[in-house]
């Protein structure tokens, strides 16, 4: 008797199939319920801020109310949005260059052991250096008003975490998977493509997410050291020195939105590139 022809056996085999992931409406509602507390808390905090300023009569040049900040943002939208766009360009440009360079160097470390043992300790040491301190030097190299000077700072800041994490991801591979590929007499480049690179992706995306936040911080702080007139960092320092605190806050709000926007883009990319990853699995399984 062939086992495959026995319907009872087949049924028994199928009995242990966990539920397939399905798209259903209740999941959307579930998701909404998950984010609801954060939304409520956010607006509660804003209300508390607003009321505190009113209740204690805090001067507007010390701490403006959220509604004043929003109003100021609307009034100065043309100027602030122009500055935000310029800063966003620096952050994204530096991020892309730094992340790409970090990933490439990491690939090299995974390919050549000698390179890894030489480069990694130095990279880890440099990663703890306050790279933002290089901003004045980059301004000297590339010119104060040249966006490249800010991109360079951002690129260096993003480079190290991406490189170190990617290198770890490429080398911390399940030994059984390497043995499997060895049993097929797979070449090093096939192992890289089929095992090392896919295994590294969760590490890479973790670093990229950190990198998005760092790149906005890096761009704005680099601008504090001086830059063209229409960027967020320069705008914030100028308005603050004129005691236009609401304008400074409005620009900080926009800077925050930039950081969140970049983070979200990476998050979406992560879901598209590795839909298989454990963190995206249906929780019912």
């Amino acid at each position: 008797m062939s086992l495959r022809d026995d319907p009872d056996v087949l049924e028994a085999f199928d009995a242990d199939v966990p539920g397939e992931p399905q798209v259903d409406v209740s999941r959307l509602r579930e998701r909404l319920r998950e984010v609801a507390p954060a939304i409520v808390l956010f607006f509660a905090a804003l209300a508390l801020w607003e009321l505190t300023v009113i209740a204690f009569g805090i001067q507007e040049f010390l701490l403006p109310r959220p509604t004043v900040i929003v109003g100021t943002l609307v009034d100065n939208w043309t100027e602030i949005s122009k500055a935000a766009f310029a800063t966003f360009e620096e952050a994204v440009g530096g991020f892309v260059v730094g992340a790409a360079a970090g990933a490439l160097v990491a690939l090299a470390t995974a390919r050549w052991t000698g390179f890894r043992t030489g480069v990694l300790p130095i990279a880890i040491a440099l990663n703890s250096a306050p790279i933002i301190a290089l901003a004045p030097i980059m301004n000297q190299w590339f010119g104060l008003t040249n966006p490249v000077s800010k991109m360079a700072v951002v690129a260096i800041i993003v480079f190290f975490p991406v490189m170190i994490n990617t290198a770890r991801g490429l080398t911390e591979v399940d030994p059984a998977e390497l043995e499997l590929l060895d049993s097929y007499a797979a070449s090093p480049s096939e192992i890289m493509r089929n095992v090392r690179i896919p295994s590294s992706l969760p590490f890479v995306f973790a670093a990229l997410k950190v990198g998005t936040v760092l790149s906005v911080i890096g761009a704005i702080v680099a601008e504090y050291f001086g830059g063209p007139r229409d960027v967020l960092g320069v705008y914030i320092t100028q308005q603050a020195s004129l005691l236009h605190i609401a304008e400074a806050w409005a620009a900080i709000v926009v800077a925050t939105v930039l950081g969140v926007a970049m983070y979200t883009i990476v998050l979406v990319a992560e879901r598209l590139i590795m839909p298989w990853h454990a963190s995206f699995r249906d929780q019912r399984v």
């Binding site: 049993s183 097929y184 007499a185 454990a278």
Partner: protein, 261 residues
């Protein structure tokens, strides 16, 4: 091609030779496995049975002796893709669907896409998972994952299957079903199977021969022919000769100085 699938003569393996944590894993292994045989290596943990399997697969290099796989060096046999390895863990790549996992060895061997898809369908059908081709491994139970691993092993038609406790992580019921299925596949494909296990019932039920090993250093202490009638069925497990063979293996393990159960 030689009619011997595996020949080992005086094979030994010492790990970390010369250092303080030196371990002699295998010593003086002589074993000949004929083409089409189903041979189990049985012994307690540390008896070197997995190491012996990896020596055959050229994943570990011997310290002494001579090995031949399909009439070639193990290295040549690996390059020629003469064998497939099945591990205790299914070791499916989590970023590939079930179908793409089965196609992995074919991709590496440069088989074109249409043929890859045809063969992956064929072998997923063989392990009764045809409709799961587009699922990801995590959506499958442990037993189903291991069947995918077996399909992945068979898909490039290797002469040998090297199996390292493939059912060790499964529950007893799933395990017996998988054994039946493996028997079925073995009978129909005529592959040579080298099967590492520490389960006496499993070794006796599946094998044409059981190789009994003892630890420190790993040696072969006995080889027992299992001449139970083929094909093995559910009834085999309840037959008297089956129990007699299990007793024989158990005694051989005890004679080898291995505490049994």
């Amino acid at each position: 091609m030689s009619e011997h699938a595996v020949v080992a003569e005086g094979v030994g393996k010492v790990f970390n030779a010369g250092s303080s944590d030196q371990v002699e894993a295998l010593k003086g292994i002589d074993l000949t496995i004929g083409a089409g045989e189903f041979v189990s290596l049985i012994g307690p943990s540390g008896c070197g049975k997995s190491t012996l399997l990896r020596l055959v697969g050229d994943l570990v290099q011997p310290s002494a002796g001579r090995l031949e796989v399909n009439g070639k060096t193990p290295h040549r046999a690996r390059l020629d893709r003469d064998y497939a390895m099945v591990f205790q863990k299914a070791t499916l790549l989590e970023w590939r669907t079930v179908g793409k996992n089965v196609q992995l060895p074919l991709e590496i061997m440069g088989v074109d896409k249409a043929e890859r898809e045809r063969r992956s369908r064929e072998f997923l059908d063989l392990v009764q998972l045809a409709e799961f081709s587009d699922h990801y491994p995590w959506q499958l139970s442990g037993g189903m994952q291991q069947r995918v691993a077996i399909a992945r092993g068979l898909v490039f038609d290797p002469a040998l299957l090297l199996m390292d406790e493939p059912f060790g992580a499964l529950d007893e019921m799933t395990r017996e079903r998988m054994q039946m299925e493996l028997m079925d596949i073995w009978r129909r494909t005529g592959k040579t199977v080298v099967f590492v296990t520490h389960s006496i019932p499993e070794a006796v039920f599946l094998s044409t021969r059981v190789v009994v090993m003892s630890p420190r250093p790993g040696r072969i202490t006995d080889v027992i022919d299992i001449d139970l009638t083929q094909p093995r069925t559910f009834d085999t497990r309840e037959s008297t000769p089956y129990y007699e063979k299990m007793t024989e293996v158990r005694e051989a393990l005890r004679a080898a100085g291995v505490g049994v159960e």
